[in-house]
Symmetry: C2
Subunit: 227 residues, 2 copies
């Protein structure tokens, strides 16, 4: 019998399995394209197969891995085509969110989260802190979707952001400093604040399309497949 750490939080095993597997995938400890047996993962997480299996099924539903009976679970690689698909979905759903956010008539204080994210991105660009920029960028997009007020959109975008994050790990250092990007963010922000749904939607759409092109070009140029 193994003694538990005293500060152990009361997280259920399957929740832990889900979180830990996610971390292992994002950290690259479980590289894209690699295969792993349920029992192996269970041993690694020091729990039985049952909760691990539940987490695996969830992650399969989220498109992070694939069950291949008798061959183990395969961590799914992301090809440029995959990223293209994901960016297209994000483009549509975030643009919808921008539209709805503009129509919702939010007060300035409701938009503080957006504004702060934009400011943080400016600061990050100024100090060339790519990690801080990525974090603030992600915050901007998730805040935008939250303001859109559609819980289904939030769920889908949250799922796909996971995948984008995987790709970003690789591409972040290869892309030019995102200077233009924040100008776009500010324009989206202004349009929402002014209740101009049409501009908010169109501006965000253009922003996402440009971002997609940058990422896809990098992935293809460097023949990056596994991220």
């Amino acid at each position: 019998m193994i003694l538990e750490p005293l500060v152990e939080k009361t997280l259920s095993s399957s929740q832990r399995a889900l979180a830990e597997l996610r971390k292992l995938i994002f950290s690259g400890d479980l590289p894209a394209g690699s295969d792993h047996l349920e029992s192996e993962l269970a041993a690694r997480l020091e729990m039985s197969r049952t909760p691990v299996r539940e987490a695996i099924l969830t992650l399969e539903g989220q498109g992070l891995l694939e069950l291949r009976p008798r061959k183990g679970v395969r961590i799914l690689p992301l090809s440029p085509d995959d990223m293209s698909e994901i960016y297209d979905v994000l483009t549509e759903l975030e643009s919808l969110s921008a539209d709805h956010a503009a129509r919702a008539g939010y007060a300035p204080r409701d938009l503080q989260g957006l504004e702060r994210a934009i400011d943080d991105m400016d600061a990050a660009v100024a100090s060339s802190d790519l990690d801080a920029w990525a974090e603030a960028d992600e915050r901007f997009h998730s805040e935008l979707v939250r303001l859109g007020g559609n819980s289904r959109v939030m769920g889908i975008v949250y799922m796909m952001s996971d995948q984008v994050r995987r790709a970003r790990m690789t591409t972040l250092t290869l892309r030019p400093l995102p200077v233009q990007s924040n100008e776009d963010h500010r324009r989206v922000y202004r349009a929402i604040a002014e209740g101009d749904a049409k501009t908010a939607r169109a501006t965000h759409r253009a922003h996402r399309r440009a971002a997609k092109k940058i990422i896809i070009d990098i992935l293809e140029k460097h023949r990056l497949r596994f991220v």
Copy 2:
């Protein structure tokens, strides 16, 4: 997401559980808002809790039900707000699909599925066969998404179509005969055939927005919550 081959071999218990639970939900045997214990469902499907539990987790991920520890799983009701969210997502993703389908430059024979669905809807309207119309309408939309070529979009739309189908069971007999609707479909079809992405997108978007309004109005007018 992937269509199963028609030659069904002995499918696994968890697959059966998934299919059967779906059927029970759609048939109304498990009404929206009702609670059910894992063990009760397992007994009903004549299998152990394990595969039932796996199916339940999958269905939870698809938003059909909710796990409430110690209270059983609750079949989720669909409020007008839920339907509004779902229609908004479908509007965006199907419009994207129409756009991409138009750009893809399909040959006429590739579009046969669309055309047949439209013809079938015409026939169904002529004979006032609402069920046939609903089936063909669903076929049109799923074919459209298939032509769009984005597998993520296909997956999301497939999931949400399940929910729309639940609502449609109730609203179908309450709505006016969908005559205008098929005129829209034909215009989308023509735009795709002619490679006019802009028109395809805009037309389909308008179509979906109109459909959403009809459904939501009915749901609210009749105070329908559980479907």
